[in-house]
Symmetry: C3
């Protein structure tokens, strides 16, 4: 039962430092407040070590990276790691540009992340780019479906083992693995793909969940995925015919605001493989 992990977030008010893109940053801040956490944003190299020091987790999202923020990612990451904080990487657009791919790979080399969370294309890029010579099946399809699920689970497990951290591949079906077990999550709605930033929000949420549940990182990461997907389901139920993606965005964050142990226990739709 994953519901207890959301209660721990509300009890612990985890402070999360976000070096993230300016597109979805407001929603990232509001979703962290909605789940019971507290957000801080800072991407200036001279500022980030101080800021990350007072937090419990660091969420690095390369969605609108620049030379300055890249420096900040490494500085903050090293400081956070030194302090034993939770470290998450959201490699937005890895594979779409050399700078993004290389930055993500270099961050993986220099830092020990607790979680890497992305879509299947981003994660495949990292799996290939990290120079693996065996095991990581780069031919895994570009969307995880019931048909290719076995293959996808094997891919995520293998990459998690190689990366030495939890890997979360999110999409229509979400896979979260530490290399041993793999949570397969079937919450969410396709309409969530029409809102910018649900992935960014999930990365922030997951960081908060891990900070508040440090002894149970894998199920806590899976709980964050279930909570976000379930919020998408709950928010959708409140949609009126004239509502579209902008209102849906609000309703999902609102549903996170009301998410509690009972709701998550009843609504989480997952299996462990």
């Amino acid at each position: 039962m994953l519901g207890a992990y959301v209660e721990n977030v509300r009890k612990n008010t985890p402070l999360v430092h976000n070096i993230t893109n300016y597109v979805t940053v407001n929603d990232v801040a509001n979703v962290l407040l909605a789940c019971g956490g507290s957000p801080i944003m800072s991407d200036e190299p001279e500022d980030v070590e101080d800021i990350t020091s007072i937090c419990g987790g660091l969420n690095i999202n390369i969605g609108t990276l620049n030379q300055n923020s890249i420096k900040a990612m490494f500085l903050a990451g090293k400081k956070a790691q030194e302090l034993g904080h939770v470290l998450l990487l959201d490699p937005v657009g890895a594979g779409a540009s050399a700078l993004r791919t290389n930055t993500a790979i270099n961050l993986m080399k220099e830092l020990s992340f607790d979680v890497i969370r992305g879509n299947i294309s981003e994660i495949k890029t990292l799996a290939l780019g990290s120079g693996t010579t065996k095991g990581v099946d780069a031919d895994v399809a570009d969307a995880v479906t019931e048909e290719n699920l076995d293959e996808a689970v094997a891919f995520v497990k293998t990459f998690a083992k190689e990366a030495g951290c939890i890997v979360a591949v999110t999409g229509a079906i979400d896979l979260i693995s530490d290399g041993e077990a793999c949570y397969v999550v079937r919450n969410g709605r396709p309409e969530m793909g029409k809102i910018t930033g649900t992935g960014c929000q999930l990365s922030a949420l997951m960081t908060a969940f891990l900070v508040a549940n440090k002894e149970d990182k894998l199920p806590a990461a899976a709980a964050a995925v279930c909570a976000m997907g379930l919020a998408g389901e709950i928010g959708f139920r409140h949609m009126k015919p004239e509502d579209g993606n902008s209102t849906y965005r609000n309703r999902i964050i609102d549903a996170i605001y009301h998410m509690d142990q009972e709701t998550l226990d009843q609504g989480a739709n997952y299996e462990v493989r």
Copy 2:
């Protein structure tokens, strides 16, 4: 009938690269998703050429320009042009500062835009600043009204001819011309002026419409203007007494989310001069 252009956007899922301001960027992303397009944001010089290469159009908005993003605008613009992508300029604040005016003018000199879209003050600044010695009436009034419409249409046609691209002047009455024909659009509501970023959203929308309708750029640009204005009308009908500009913002994007051929064909309010 302009409705077919919106259907083409939904069929083609145009990928639009936005170098845009951080004020309204989230709404820009959501409106692109709402219309059936797909947004990418990147303003780091080292990143933009790769990113723009995988897109079909580039939307340059100078709303919060800085030295770094200005470099990125030129680099991305040249690459996009080389690849035959749709190029749009939104000269936010041209006339309000030397840096904005000069940046817009230099972008116009070095790049061949498909569309320049702004308010009447911004467009007048560019018309004057581009060094025209005849034809462009700098005395055109600061708002397009039914009273000065003939003069305004002539001004926009002349400037479009000189600039060698579509010019869209938006306000209470919108004018969109390629130098020959001029669409006069009377959709929209005055309350839209109380929301930040409806202009920025329109520029992004227009870029997507042109990418998906490359053979019909002028009517596609007019269709985007009608769609945005009509969304303002539809969204307004759903407003409750306690709703204000923040809710209205959501309702407009929601209305774009539901915009289809029939709705646009029935609601578009325009004439061609």
Copy 3:
């Protein structure tokens, strides 16, 4: 009666230049439009002097400061001061990092602010950091309550006198003082703390209120605080059971959109000490 100050904002349409963080900037722009003002954002050193020159007030918020924007803050601040504009400082995160604390203190040294607005921790940091050797009670508690109100009022008055400007400490109870009188405001709701950026919005609102009421800066600042808190109360009344912090954000800005003299006169809850 503070209601007249909101009417003056609607009559004067104060143009406010914001150098502010990218987290809450969209809400800052929309709240300025909601109250009858007009926002401009610019944080590029080469751009800010021109931009601030056409405005009536400058709102400096260090929420996501960087080396470039810090330069811009000083340049814009000096130009705004030279032109007699309203100057407000929102020292977001002062005390959380050396860069933030030092930047805020240096801004206070080089510029004559009309208002400094922050939470009690930020204001305490500045009171200590500015090198006061007497009078400023650094032991004031970390939240203003009915129990420590006398002490907190004395602290704010003393710091306002030393800083030579209006100081506004906002929280469950808000204190606004010019060193002589102190407005004690009891509007607002605790749920406002679950939305990112209500403080940033208030700073922008306050700047607009002062620009439109230059002869009555202290009551105008108090009026802005009452208006924001009252908007929180009004917005909350329209919340449905499924609504959360994201919808609440919209409702508060919507309530500012409808705020008028009568509403503020009837709803403002304050005393002067």
